[in-house]
Symmetry: C2
Subunit: 165 residues, 2 copies
Protein backbone atom coordinates (compact mmCIF):
# COMPACT_ATOMS: atom_id res chain seq x y z
CA UNK A 1 0.00 0.00 0.00
CA UNK A 2 2.87 2.39 0.72
CA UNK A 3 4.39 1.58 -2.64
CA UNK A 4 1.03 2.15 -4.28
CA UNK A 5 0.68 5.54 -2.66
CA UNK A 6 4.21 6.58 -3.56
CA UNK A 7 4.03 5.52 -7.18
CA UNK A 8 0.59 6.98 -7.78
CA UNK A 9 1.75 10.22 -6.20
CA UNK A 10 4.72 10.36 -8.54
CA UNK A 11 3.17 9.04 -11.76
CA UNK A 12 -0.56 9.26 -11.40
CA UNK A 13 -3.08 6.46 -11.11
CA UNK A 14 -3.35 5.43 -14.75
CA UNK A 15 0.40 5.79 -15.14
CA UNK A 16 1.13 3.26 -12.44
CA UNK A 17 0.96 -0.45 -13.17
CA UNK A 18 0.59 -3.36 -10.77
CA UNK A 19 3.91 -4.66 -12.07
CA UNK A 20 5.62 -1.51 -10.89
CA UNK A 21 3.91 -1.63 -7.53
CA UNK A 22 5.02 -5.24 -7.14
CA UNK A 23 8.61 -4.42 -8.04
CA UNK A 24 8.73 -1.37 -5.78
CA UNK A 25 7.35 -3.27 -2.81
CA UNK A 26 9.60 -6.29 -3.34
CA UNK A 27 6.69 -8.62 -3.83
CA UNK A 28 5.42 -10.74 -6.71
CA UNK A 29 2.50 -9.46 -8.74
CA UNK A 30 0.58 -12.64 -8.01
CA UNK A 31 0.87 -11.95 -4.29
CA UNK A 32 -0.84 -8.60 -4.74
CA UNK A 33 -3.70 -10.28 -6.56
CA UNK A 34 -4.01 -12.79 -3.72
CA UNK A 35 -4.85 -9.94 -1.34
CA UNK A 36 -6.74 -7.51 -3.55
CA UNK A 37 -9.14 -8.35 -6.31
CA UNK A 38 -8.16 -5.44 -8.52
CA UNK A 39 -6.06 -2.34 -8.81
CA UNK A 40 -9.07 -0.32 -7.70
CA UNK A 41 -9.53 -2.16 -4.43
CA UNK A 42 -5.85 -1.81 -3.64
CA UNK A 43 -6.16 1.90 -4.26
CA UNK A 44 -9.23 2.11 -2.03
CA UNK A 45 -7.24 0.68 0.86
CA UNK A 46 -4.27 2.91 0.14
CA UNK A 47 -6.59 5.91 0.02
CA UNK A 48 -8.25 5.00 3.29
CA UNK A 49 -4.85 4.82 4.96
CA UNK A 50 -3.77 8.13 3.44
CA UNK A 51 -6.94 9.89 4.55
CA UNK A 52 -6.53 9.02 8.20
CA UNK A 53 -9.24 9.74 10.73
CA UNK A 54 -11.88 12.40 10.32
CA UNK A 55 -11.89 14.98 13.13
CA UNK A 56 -14.32 14.42 15.96
CA UNK A 57 -13.89 17.01 18.72
CA UNK A 58 -16.51 19.63 18.06
CA UNK A 59 -18.84 21.76 20.12
CA UNK A 60 -21.51 22.57 17.58
CA UNK A 61 -22.94 21.57 14.25
CA UNK A 62 -21.18 24.57 12.68
CA UNK A 63 -17.86 23.46 14.12
CA UNK A 64 -18.41 19.91 12.99
CA UNK A 65 -19.22 20.92 9.43
CA UNK A 66 -16.40 23.43 9.27
CA UNK A 67 -13.80 21.01 10.49
CA UNK A 68 -15.07 18.22 8.26
CA UNK A 69 -14.85 20.48 5.23
CA UNK A 70 -11.45 21.77 6.14
CA UNK A 71 -10.23 18.24 6.79
CA UNK A 72 -11.45 17.14 3.38
CA UNK A 73 -9.97 20.07 1.50
CA UNK A 74 -6.61 19.63 3.19
CA UNK A 75 -6.59 15.99 2.21
CA UNK A 76 -7.43 16.77 -1.39
CA UNK A 77 -4.64 19.29 -1.59
CA UNK A 78 -2.33 16.47 -0.51
CA UNK A 79 -0.84 14.94 -3.62
CA UNK A 80 -0.97 11.33 -2.36
CA UNK A 81 -4.66 11.56 -1.61
CA UNK A 82 -5.51 13.49 -4.73
CA UNK A 83 -3.70 11.10 -7.05
CA UNK A 84 -5.48 8.07 -5.64
CA UNK A 85 -8.80 9.85 -5.52
CA UNK A 86 -8.67 11.06 -9.12
CA UNK A 87 -8.03 7.56 -10.36
CA UNK A 88 -10.73 6.04 -8.20
CA UNK A 89 -13.37 8.58 -9.13
CA UNK A 90 -12.60 7.92 -12.77
CA UNK A 91 -13.00 4.20 -12.20
CA UNK A 92 -16.17 4.63 -10.16
CA UNK A 93 -17.70 6.10 -13.28
CA UNK A 94 -17.88 2.68 -14.88
CA UNK A 95 -17.63 0.34 -11.90
CA UNK A 96 -20.44 0.06 -9.38
CA UNK A 97 -18.25 -1.85 -6.93
CA UNK A 98 -15.70 0.95 -6.70
CA UNK A 99 -18.55 3.43 -6.52
CA UNK A 100 -19.94 1.72 -3.48
CA UNK A 101 -16.58 1.40 -1.77
CA UNK A 102 -15.92 5.07 -2.39
CA UNK A 103 -19.21 5.94 -0.73
CA UNK A 104 -18.40 3.96 2.38
CA UNK A 105 -14.71 4.83 2.63
CA UNK A 106 -14.73 8.43 1.51
CA UNK A 107 -18.17 9.94 1.83
CA UNK A 108 -19.31 8.13 4.94
CA UNK A 109 -16.43 9.36 7.16
CA UNK A 110 -17.22 12.88 6.03
CA UNK A 111 -20.98 12.77 6.18
CA UNK A 112 -22.19 10.20 8.68
CA UNK A 113 -21.34 12.01 11.88
CA UNK A 114 -22.69 15.27 10.53
CA UNK A 115 -26.08 13.78 9.83
CA UNK A 116 -26.34 11.26 12.67
CA UNK A 117 -24.85 13.20 15.57
CA UNK A 118 -25.43 16.79 14.56
CA UNK A 119 -28.71 16.35 12.79
CA UNK A 120 -27.67 18.12 9.59
CA UNK A 121 -29.72 17.44 6.51
CA UNK A 122 -28.39 14.55 4.45
CA UNK A 123 -29.18 16.31 1.23
CA UNK A 124 -27.28 19.41 2.23
CA UNK A 125 -24.30 17.53 3.62
CA UNK A 126 -24.07 15.63 0.36
CA UNK A 127 -24.23 18.89 -1.52
CA UNK A 128 -21.38 20.32 0.53
CA UNK A 129 -19.40 17.13 -0.01
CA UNK A 130 -19.86 17.12 -3.76
CA UNK A 131 -19.05 20.82 -4.04
CA UNK A 132 -15.79 20.44 -2.17
CA UNK A 133 -14.62 17.11 -3.56
CA UNK A 134 -16.09 17.40 -7.03
CA UNK A 135 -15.18 21.05 -7.36
CA UNK A 136 -11.57 20.65 -6.28
CA UNK A 137 -10.95 17.53 -8.33
CA UNK A 138 -12.51 19.15 -11.36
CA UNK A 139 -10.45 22.27 -10.90
CA UNK A 140 -7.35 20.12 -10.78
CA UNK A 141 -8.44 18.33 -13.94
CA UNK A 142 -8.90 21.66 -15.72
CA UNK A 143 -5.86 23.52 -14.41
CA UNK A 144 -3.37 20.83 -13.47
CA UNK A 145 -3.07 22.19 -9.97
CA UNK A 146 -5.04 23.26 -6.90
CA UNK A 147 -4.03 26.23 -4.81
CA UNK A 148 -4.92 27.23 -1.30
CA UNK A 149 -7.06 30.01 -2.73
CA UNK A 150 -9.00 27.40 -4.69
CA UNK A 151 -9.71 25.28 -1.65
CA UNK A 152 -10.67 28.37 0.37
CA UNK A 153 -13.18 29.38 -2.28
CA UNK A 154 -14.88 25.99 -2.34
CA UNK A 155 -14.78 25.83 1.44
CA UNK A 156 -16.64 29.14 1.67
CA UNK A 157 -19.29 28.03 -0.80
CA UNK A 158 -19.81 24.66 0.87
CA UNK A 159 -20.08 26.22 4.30
CA UNK A 160 -22.63 28.77 3.21
CA UNK A 161 -24.76 25.99 1.74
CA UNK A 162 -25.63 24.84 5.24
CA UNK A 163 -25.21 28.00 7.24
CA UNK A 164 -26.41 30.66 4.85
CA UNK A 165 -23.64 33.03 3.86
Amino acid sequence: MAATTDLVTAQGYAGTSIDEIARASGVAKTTIYRRWRSKGELAIDALTAAMGQAPTDQASAEDALGSAISWMTRRIRQQEVRGLLLGLVAEATEDAEIRSQLRSHLRAPFADRLTNEWGLSGREVDLAFDIVVGGLLHRFAMNGRVTKADSDAFTAVATSVLFGG
Copy 2:
Protein backbone atom coordinates in the same frame (compact mmCIF):
# COMPACT_ATOMS: atom_id res chain seq x y z
CA MET B 1 -17.89 11.22 -34.44
CA ALA B 2 -21.50 10.05 -34.40
CA ALA B 3 -20.33 6.48 -33.85
CA THR B 4 -18.07 7.69 -31.05
CA THR B 5 -20.91 9.48 -29.33
CA ASP B 6 -23.26 6.52 -29.67
CA LEU B 7 -20.82 3.92 -28.41
CA VAL B 8 -19.57 6.03 -25.53
CA THR B 9 -23.16 6.74 -24.55
CA ALA B 10 -23.95 3.03 -24.49
CA GLN B 11 -20.72 1.62 -23.06
CA GLY B 12 -18.87 4.46 -21.42
CA TYR B 13 -15.64 6.08 -22.47
CA ALA B 14 -13.16 3.55 -21.14
CA GLY B 15 -15.38 0.73 -22.33
CA THR B 16 -15.27 1.88 -25.93
CA SER B 17 -12.30 1.07 -28.13
CA ILE B 18 -11.16 2.70 -31.35
CA ASP B 19 -11.59 -0.67 -33.04
CA GLU B 20 -15.27 -0.64 -32.17
CA ILE B 21 -15.69 2.93 -33.31
CA ALA B 22 -14.04 2.06 -36.61
CA ARG B 23 -16.25 -0.97 -37.09
CA ALA B 24 -19.42 0.91 -36.20
CA SER B 25 -18.63 3.78 -38.54
CA GLY B 26 -17.62 1.52 -41.42
CA VAL B 27 -14.12 2.91 -41.57
CA ALA B 28 -10.66 1.50 -41.00
CA LYS B 29 -8.96 2.19 -37.70
CA THR B 30 -6.00 3.67 -39.51
CA THR B 31 -8.28 6.22 -41.14
CA ILE B 32 -9.38 7.42 -37.75
CA TYR B 33 -5.79 7.89 -36.71
CA ARG B 34 -5.14 9.87 -39.89
CA ARG B 35 -7.67 12.48 -38.74
CA TRP B 36 -7.27 12.46 -34.97
CA ARG B 37 -4.09 12.01 -33.03
CA SER B 38 -5.68 10.10 -30.19
CA LYS B 39 -8.89 8.81 -28.74
CA GLY B 40 -9.02 11.88 -26.54
CA GLU B 41 -8.96 14.34 -29.43
CA LEU B 42 -11.66 12.43 -31.23
CA ALA B 43 -13.76 12.60 -28.08
CA ILE B 44 -13.12 16.35 -27.78
CA ASP B 45 -14.57 16.88 -31.24
CA ALA B 46 -17.50 14.58 -30.55
CA LEU B 47 -18.16 16.43 -27.31
CA THR B 48 -18.02 19.81 -28.99
CA ALA B 49 -20.60 18.66 -31.52
CA ALA B 50 -22.82 17.20 -28.81
CA MET B 51 -22.68 20.38 -26.74
CA GLY B 52 -23.94 22.64 -29.50
CA GLN B 53 -23.95 26.37 -29.15
CA ALA B 54 -24.06 28.22 -25.87
CA PRO B 55 -27.06 30.54 -25.50
CA THR B 56 -26.51 34.18 -26.39
CA ASP B 57 -29.74 36.16 -26.19
CA GLN B 58 -29.74 37.81 -22.79
CA ALA B 59 -30.74 41.12 -21.34
CA SER B 60 -28.62 41.23 -18.20
CA ALA B 61 -25.64 39.68 -16.50
CA GLU B 62 -28.01 37.73 -14.28
CA ASP B 63 -29.82 36.36 -17.30
CA ALA B 64 -26.58 35.50 -19.02
CA LEU B 65 -25.24 33.62 -16.03
CA GLY B 66 -28.52 31.88 -15.37
CA SER B 67 -28.91 30.67 -18.92
CA ALA B 68 -25.26 29.61 -19.17
CA ILE B 69 -25.61 27.55 -16.01
CA SER B 70 -28.88 26.04 -17.06
CA TRP B 71 -27.47 25.25 -20.49
CA MET B 72 -24.49 23.51 -18.92
CA THR B 73 -26.52 21.48 -16.43
CA ARG B 74 -28.92 20.34 -19.13
CA ARG B 75 -26.01 19.19 -21.23
CA ILE B 76 -24.47 17.27 -18.38
CA ARG B 77 -27.73 15.53 -17.69
CA GLN B 78 -27.62 14.37 -21.29
CA GLN B 79 -26.05 10.93 -21.40
CA GLU B 80 -24.06 11.51 -24.58
CA VAL B 81 -22.41 14.60 -23.23
CA ARG B 82 -21.87 13.16 -19.79
CA GLY B 83 -20.25 9.98 -21.05
CA LEU B 84 -17.78 11.85 -23.21
CA LEU B 85 -17.12 14.42 -20.54
CA LEU B 86 -16.44 11.90 -17.80
CA GLY B 87 -13.85 10.17 -19.92
CA LEU B 88 -12.21 13.39 -20.98
CA VAL B 89 -12.02 14.83 -17.49
CA ALA B 90 -10.41 11.59 -16.35
CA GLU B 91 -7.87 11.84 -19.14
CA ALA B 92 -7.21 15.52 -18.54
CA THR B 93 -5.98 14.49 -15.13
CA GLU B 94 -2.81 13.08 -16.64
CA ASP B 95 -2.66 14.78 -20.04
CA ALA B 96 -1.96 18.47 -20.36
CA GLU B 97 -2.99 18.52 -24.01
CA ILE B 98 -6.50 17.26 -23.26
CA ARG B 99 -6.63 19.62 -20.31
CA SER B 100 -5.97 22.57 -22.55
CA GLN B 101 -8.46 21.48 -25.20
CA LEU B 102 -11.08 21.00 -22.52
CA ARG B 103 -10.51 24.54 -21.33
CA SER B 104 -10.98 26.01 -24.78
CA HIS B 105 -13.84 23.76 -25.94
CA LEU B 106 -15.80 23.38 -22.72
CA ARG B 107 -14.98 26.12 -20.30
CA ALA B 108 -14.46 28.96 -22.77
CA PRO B 109 -17.95 28.72 -24.34
CA PHE B 110 -19.40 28.84 -20.86
CA ALA B 111 -17.20 31.52 -19.36
CA ASP B 112 -15.85 33.85 -22.03
CA ARG B 113 -18.99 35.77 -22.82
CA LEU B 114 -19.84 36.09 -19.14
CA THR B 115 -16.54 37.74 -18.36
CA ASN B 116 -15.92 39.66 -21.57
CA GLU B 117 -19.39 40.94 -22.40
CA TRP B 118 -21.06 41.05 -19.03
CA GLY B 119 -18.07 41.95 -16.94
CA LEU B 120 -18.50 39.18 -14.43
CA SER B 121 -15.46 38.27 -12.33
CA GLY B 122 -13.35 35.54 -13.90
CA ARG B 123 -12.67 33.98 -10.54
CA GLU B 124 -16.33 33.76 -9.71
CA VAL B 125 -17.40 32.51 -13.11
CA ASP B 126 -14.79 29.77 -12.82
CA LEU B 127 -16.10 28.94 -9.40
CA ALA B 128 -19.64 28.62 -10.73
CA PHE B 129 -18.38 26.50 -13.60
CA ASP B 130 -16.44 24.12 -11.39
CA ILE B 131 -19.32 23.80 -8.94
CA VAL B 132 -21.78 22.87 -11.66
CA VAL B 133 -19.57 20.67 -13.81
CA GLY B 134 -17.39 19.22 -11.07
CA GLY B 135 -20.27 18.78 -8.70
CA LEU B 136 -22.58 17.05 -11.15
CA LEU B 137 -19.88 14.78 -12.56
CA HIS B 138 -18.75 13.85 -9.09
CA ARG B 139 -22.29 13.15 -7.99
CA PHE B 140 -22.66 10.85 -10.97
CA ALA B 141 -19.41 9.12 -10.09
CA MET B 142 -20.63 8.53 -6.52
CA ASN B 143 -24.25 7.61 -7.22
CA GLY B 144 -24.27 6.28 -10.75
CA ARG B 145 -26.94 8.75 -11.78
CA VAL B 146 -27.87 12.42 -11.79
CA THR B 147 -31.42 13.60 -11.22
CA LYS B 148 -33.14 16.86 -12.00
CA ALA B 149 -33.16 17.62 -8.29
CA ASP B 150 -29.38 17.23 -8.29
CA SER B 151 -28.87 19.66 -11.11
CA ASP B 152 -31.31 22.13 -9.56
CA ALA B 153 -29.37 22.06 -6.31
CA PHE B 154 -26.04 22.79 -7.97
CA THR B 155 -27.64 25.42 -10.16
CA ALA B 156 -28.93 27.24 -7.10
CA VAL B 157 -25.55 27.15 -5.40
CA ALA B 158 -23.66 28.31 -8.49
CA THR B 159 -26.09 31.16 -9.09
CA SER B 160 -25.87 32.40 -5.53
CA VAL B 161 -22.07 32.46 -5.82
CA LEU B 162 -22.32 35.45 -8.15
CA PHE B 163 -25.60 37.00 -7.12
CA GLY B 164 -25.56 36.48 -3.38
CA GLY B 165 -28.21 34.06 -2.18
